[in-house]
């Protein structure tokens, strides 16, 4: 806490009013560290790409143009000035344009999933930790332990499959966001709970309680701000499974396991090469929908899955690098904010 000169005009020393430092004070005393600048800068580039994609492509944002000439991997162009990321066969689009068009959709998905994850996990976990041994605590611990026994991707696909079986029309990206967020929050709540549990026994919380603060006040003023660390540590870890689910199942369905499904003879662009299809429980509406994970799945499929295709490096490299840089930026930002936050204690 900072004792501000303007606020200490009371008649006696006991009446000195201590104010919490404003954000401007904090900024001046401890300017943000390099991690924050780099992480936020990279994420800003992503947001700028998303906004520009919305402005440039307008109503065509959700459909990738399919150039039939490029569907055959034989004619897939490597990176050049005209196509900086090369050309993706199967989908038949320049990869740079596909990634660019996919940015708003993926940012929406990640932001939505993390928002649900953090909103539920943070508050429920902090409440459970503050009331240790209570009903909420027992329930959160039990649910967290139970859901934690099954791999995340498994749970997400199974629940999403139930929705898709019931009404295929509603099994889109919004449902995927909700399902993924609901599967992720118990892990978040568990980690927050453990921190909140130790915060709840700190002397300053006891002092606050002894001076008559309400439970809500203690939760809001002491426990929530001091339990932010686990949230910031968990957020980057929760980004990875999202893209794993979105890329692994398209890849497996089309290219792995028991071989690619035979292309229909003479039907449309189908030929003696692979035209990727959506797996049964996919949140995407069509194969021409732009999405990073889908592009990575198809790129891995076209670029590496078959023997002797190691030369098609751009098909999986660029989708991969876009996802990895995004995840690293999120990690840097969270790590930097966590270290910056600790300076103000």
């Amino acid at each position: 806490m900072i004792r501000r000169p303007g606020s200490s005009n009371g008649p006696s020393p006991t009446a000195v009013k201590l104010e919490r430092p404003t954000w401007r004070d904090r900024w001046r005393r401890h300017p943000p560290n390099l991690s924050i600048w780099v992480g936020a800068g990279v994420l800003l580039v992503y947001v700028a790409a998303a906004v520009s994609a919305i402005l440039v492509f307008g109503k065509g944002l959700n459909v990738l143009p399919m150039n039939l000439m490029w569907v055959n991997p034989q004619y897939a162009a490597s990176p050049s000035w005209a196509h900086p990321f090369g050309v993706m066969p199967g989908i038949g689009t320049g990869l740079f344009r596909a990634e660019w068009q996919a940015t708003p959709w993926d940012l929406e998905m990640v932001a939505g999933i993390l928002a649900i994850d953090v909103a539920i996990g943070y508050f429920v976990g902090a409440y459970a930790g503050a009331n240790e041994g209570g009903l909420c605590d027992s329930v959160v611990t039990f649910i967290g332990d139970s859901i934690g026994t099954i791999p995340t991707f498994f749970f997400v696909i199974v629940i999403f499959a139930g929705i898709a079986a019931a009404s295929p029309a509603s099994a889109g990206i919004p449902a995927f966001i909700v399902v993924f967020g609901l599967v992720l929050w118990p892990t978040m709540a568990r980690t927050v709970r453990d921190r909140a549990r130790s915060v709840a026994h700190e002397p300053y919380v006891d002092a606050s309680r002894a001076s008559g603060a309400s439970r809500f006040h203690i939760l809001w003023r002491h426990i929530l701000p001091n339990s932010l660390g686990p949230v910031l540590a968990q957020i980057p870890l929760d980004v990875a499974p999202i893209f794993f689910v979105l890329s692994a199942f398209p890849w497996y369905y089309n290219c792995a396991g028991f071989g690619p499904p035979p292309p229909p003879p003479g039907a449309g662009p189908g030929g003696p090469y692979l035209v990727p299809q959506l797996p049964p429980f996919s949140p995407l509406p069509a194969t021409t929908f732009p999405e990073w994970g889908w592009l990575l799945g198809v790129g891995t499929c076209e670029g590496v899955s078959f023997p002797g295709q190691f030369g098609f490096w751009w098909m999986y490299f660029f989708p991969l690098i876009v996802i990895v840089i995004f995840g690293l930026a999120v990690g840097l930002l969270c790590d930097g904010v966590d270290r910056w936050r600790r300076l103000h204690r």
């Binding site: 039990f142 967290g144 991707f153 139930g162 540590a233 028991f258 891995t300 590496v304 023997p307 995840g327």
Partner: protein
């Protein structure tokens, strides 16, 4: 054993907090002195003479009772996920009794092994038989992958977590986050392609066909021997390596060992990235312990501090981290198996089930997976408790 993870804040413990709040911070809690033996840890005073079970026995019993409860909860959750949307879609009237009966039927089927018939690949067999064929190769990989992972994860986590220099810690964090973000199947495929197709032409047939040589390899040598059925499943044990040794097929055994080692290496490398992110906080908190600072002040070298004093302290916590990340380990192994192998293996079973579009096939898989993970976690917890009974104090 719960103290350091709780301090770190990134590692939850798995107990219901019914032991009451510790009145002192756990790391300042006095060590169990001479009055508490090795197997009888800090005896809670409230136990008094009323209860005759020791604290560890009570903990084990409670933990054991939790397994069926968690299993039931997971099965119920997924049963709801299967049936309720379908019922809503069919606009059937909500029928609590029918729902309950259906769930009971699923439970009975699961437990009695009545898992239905598989129409899976070229099998037209009961699912139980397919599982019996497919699980041993996965166990074979895990038996190689887990020791390799332990041998890598233990020193790496200790060294990188201990270091105060940003030169070691920052790259470790960077590479583990990158390792988590790159899907494992891509890594697996890149390894397969890099090693076997482009650069090393000499094992061209190795990566496919499960843990056995490929079909052309066998065809060149007069077809499959009689102990390999369905082109992929070995008899009598089901473990390709053991069966090859039993039948004195040394070349098959060598190729099987090569493939197993390769997959195990990729699994271990990917798992170390996951493990390190949790274990780092454990080592960090061990570094700040008063007794470490005291020993350092007395002039004990950093190497001794790390490998003698800190390493012993973090071992039970590492075991807890392992127990916590078992589902993630299995996810990694499934993806690697799917990337490497064409045929037998639990990974292919999981991925094929999830992409088959048939929901009813998934029920026994969930059942089996939940049981495996719950029991495995329980056993690791028991070992951790045996090594460091102090953990009971917080439970």
């Amino acid at each position: 054993m719960t103290d350091s993870p709780n301090e770190s804040g990134t590692l939850p413990d798995r107990t219901g907090g019914d032991a009451g709040p510790p009145s002192v911070p756990p790391d300042r809690r006095p060590e169990p002195g001479g009055q508490s033996g090795e197997d009888a840890p800090t005896r809670p005073s409230r136990a008094g003479g009323r209860r005759h079970l020791s604290a560890s026995t009570r903990y084990v019993l409670r933990r054991l009772a939790l397994i069926p409860a968690q299993l039931l909860f997971v099965l119920l959750l997924l049963y709801v996920a299967f049936t309720v949307p379908t019922q809503i879609a069919q606009q059937a009237s909500p029928d609590a009794l029918g729902f309950f009966r259906g769930f009971l039927q699923v439970l009975v089927n699961d437990f009695t092994g009545n898992w239905g018939n598989a129409d899976f690949l070229r099998f037209h067999l009961p699912w139980t038989q397919v599982y019996a064929y497919y699980i041993p190769p996965s166990i074979q990989i895990a038996l190689f992958a887990l020791p390799i992972a332990a041998a890598l994860a233990y020193p790496i986590s200790l060294l990188a977590g201990w270091s105060r220099r940003p030169g070691l810690d920052a790259p470790a964090q960077f590479s583990t986050l990158t390792g988590a973000l790159v899907p494992v199947f891509v890594v697996g495929l890149l390894v397969v392609n890099a090693l076997f197709f482009s650069y090393l032409g000499w094992l061209q047939d190795v990566p496919n066909q499960g843990l056995l040589p490929t079909a052309p390899w066998f065809l060149d040598r007069g077809g499959y021997p009689s102990w390999i059925i369905y082109d992929a499943v070995t008899q009598p044990t089901g473990f390709p390596l053991i069966d090859a040794v039993i039948h004195h097929a040394w070349v098959v055994a060598f190729i099987s060992l090569t493939k197993t080692l390769l997959q195990a290496l990729v699994v271990a490398a990917a798992y170390v990235a996951i493990f390190f992110r949790h274990a780092r906080a454990v080592v960090r908190s061990a570094r700040e312990e008063p007794y470490i600072t005291g020993a350092r002040a007395r002039g004990i070298s950093e190497r001794t501090l790390l490998w003698r004093h800190a390493a012993r302290r973090v071992t039970p916590s590492f075991l807890l981290v392992f127990a916590l990340t078992i589902p993630e380990y299995l996810g990694v192994q499934f993806a690697v198996e799917a990337a490497f192998t064409d045929q037998a293996g639990f990974g292919n079973l999981v991925f094929a089930d999830l992409t088959s579009g048939i929901l009813t096939d998934i029920q026994p898989l969930i059942f089996l997976l939940a049981i495996v993970i719950l029991v495995w976690t329980f056993l690791v917890d028991l070992v951790a408790l045996r090594i460091d009974p102090r953990g009971l104090a917080g439970r």
